[in-house]
Subunit: 406 residues, 2 copies
């Protein structure tokens, strides 16, 4: 198929012309074309958004459910928020539970990549692999992670986790508290295996980070949250992330609540769109298997039979069907809406957005040979927005998903 | 007299040539000149450093002594550290004590500006006026100021203080906690009188600052210290200073102790040399009249007869003669050494240094009609350093002071 737009966002340019898709790939870009095409004249065609930090979304939660089905549900629904590929993200659980996550990712990947899903016409966002957020995190900076499951970095445990992947290329990213235990050994191991590492849920001092950078740590996870904050005598993780030019800052969805728009803006001015990665850190809250306390939103999510009950701190209660996409999609801000919200508070160009949502994460987790930019030969992953940055359509490897976009 | 240098730092250029001084003014800049000249070929000729925040220096303390003589002593010795003009800075004292400061400044100014001193060959740094640091500051963020003297901003008190100046043009700068009392009225009054205001010793929230910026507040005092720190959900005074482009950040001497070099560097990257003012915030610690606890340096300074005793937190004791310049000059870092230290940790050009030390403070306190840059007609205030930024010589309105420079 062919689409036309005046605003196709290439890596270094904006292209006004036709984009031809063939067999899930971008076949070519043309100034002239005769034949039928889908018209996105005034819309903006971005390379598809890549979410490297998403535990769950709406009706599916890798973190809470740990099943093949939950991953498949994420593949199905993430495009509704503009995401065309992602890392299913685990949390601090017991080793056994994390292995259940890994198994679920393996299972889903086998099914999805062996084409069965395509036959059923359910192609969706691509599972790129797993982001292990923990278990090697600092309990003091655990945020909403389970305290008892935050353990010290240990090479044998890491090898055990890595070894439990049937498809090792799915092990793509690890968040780690670099000040703890045998972090250096784990970092070195990850580097050897091509696993991107990031500092997160960490109480590291500036100096601790300075002295471990040579082990290849690439950035920080959910910048500002779950880390030693900035102080002018101890710049901490935040200060190190701002200070060291090469560290990437992954920012969880910009609601303005967890991280104020001004804090984002300050970081943006320092790091530039070249060193920021947007993510959602969504959980699929409705899929909690017991209860989950969201202290920032001031709601406790409690599984209640087939429903999820929302206990608001102010006493109100609501019951929602966790399988009803329309009912749960507003529980967390989608990737697309986060982009729009961010752009309303920080001066960014379309190319800045392209870098933060697609090019940077693709490079970060080493999938930039086929994701992260629009050019011939790349996967036909596209996220199309109108000029107010409302989502219009997503293409996942050439397959258009338009119904739920808004 | 005439001096020559390859590196005369003009506002927008570097001049290689001769600078002629006549009657305390810069008479002109010349490419060619026949006659005797002082040779600073390889040195850097900056416009004289202006210290807008200095309570005392070495053997003289306006804050502690509150006398005409203490101001004159500061005029005499500040050039040894590269400073050619300054604001004598008071602290949070009782209103009566602050008025003693004001009286001392008036007295010294009358004597100094009526030329008597010139006859005696004691020309030195120029007293530009007074910086009132308090009394309208927040006791919770008082730092080393007296808690009982931190009072709420009050227009009548401000008018009383201003009215007690015999030479009102000396009232040039006020540091104020903008979140307290009738801050807006005081800010408006200061603006009407041409008194520059800055936020300092303040617990203001970001929003409080955002809503009072229209009252003309120009910057923050000793950036990072004595103010609500940065948090990603409440950016505070630090966040506001970083976020709002027009707010100037005054930085107290860069020892790396009070504010880490990395914190300075992060602020520098955001604000640029256009929005930073260097100062010393020196006190003339040896001149304490009772005792002064320096909790950052971990020394208590105690007046002990004619001497000052240094009670180190680790138990060591030293006695020093507070009138012996050589003995006390190392108690605090000089302006010149702070500049060198800063430049060793942050990538700055000579023009960046010129802006932070001279042009910006001159504009800030409205003396840029005769200070802050090197051009014909301006006061012949010069600070000359070698290429390693060691002080070589200072000129105060044409009068060279070289003996103590190092």
């Amino acid at each position: 198929m062919v689409l036309y737009s005046k605003n196709i966002i290439l890596e270094h340019d904006t292209f006004d012309g036709f984009l031809k898709i063939q067999d899930g790939k971008i076949e070519g870009l043309y100034k002239d074309y005769e034949g039928p095409y889908e018209d996105f004249s005034d819309e903006i065609v971005f390379p598809g958004f890549i979410d490297i930090h998403v535990h769950g979304w709406a009706t599916g939660s890798f973190w809470f459910q740990k099943t093949r089905e939950s991953v498949k549900e994420m593949c199905r629904t993430l495009p509704f928020g503009g995401v065309t590929s992602f890392l299913a993200t685990s949390g601090a659980d017991t080793i056994g539970e994390i292995k259940k996550c890994i198994g679920a990712a393996d299972d889903a990947w086998e099914e999805l990549e062996e084409g069965e899903i395509e036959k059923r016409g359910e192609k969706g966002a691509e599972l790129l692999g797993v982001h292990l957020e923990g278990p090697f995190i600092n309990p003091q900076y655990r945020g909403m992670q389970k305290e008892e499951c935050c353990i010290e970095p240990d090479l044998e445990v890491m090898k055990d986790l890595y070894g439990s992947f049937r498809h090792r290329q799915l092990c793509r990213h690890m968040t780690i508290a670099v000040e703890r235990g045998h972090a250096r050994e784990v970092l070195n191991f990850c580097r050897e295996q091509g696993i991107q590492t990031a500092i997160g849920h960490s109480g590291a001092t500036f100096q601790e980070i300075a002295s471990i950078r040579d082990a290849g740590v690439g950035g920080v996870t959910h910048m500002f949250s779950g880390m030693r904050g900035f102080h002018h005598r101890e710049p901490g993780v935040v200060g190190a992330a701002l200070y060291f030019d090469d560290l990437m800052c992954e920012f969880a969805k910009q609601t303005g609540m967890t991280v104020s728009h001004e804090a984002f803006d300050i970081a943006y001015r320092l790091k530039g769109s070249e060193r920021i990665i947007l993510s959602t850190d969504c959980s699929g809250l409705a899929r909690t298997q017991s209860q989950f306390d969201h202290y920032v939103r001031k709601i406790r999510f409690v599984k209640d039979g087939d429903l999820v009950r929302l206990d608001h701190y102010d006493g109100r209660q609501e019951w929602i069907d966790p399988g009803d996409y329309e009912a749960v999609k507003e529980l967390e801000m989608s990737y697309g809406k986060s982009v729009k919200n961010m752009a309303e508070h920080t001066r960014v160009t379309w190319h800045d957005i392209m870098r933060m949502t697609s090019l940077n994460p693709a490079r970060y987790i080493h999938v930039n040979d086929r994701k992260g930019s629009i050019k011939p030969g790349m996967d036909a992953d596209l996220t199309i927005m109108d000029q107010e940055l409302n989502l219009v359509s997503t293409f996942c490897r050439g397959w258009e998903i338009r119904d739920y976009c808004q």
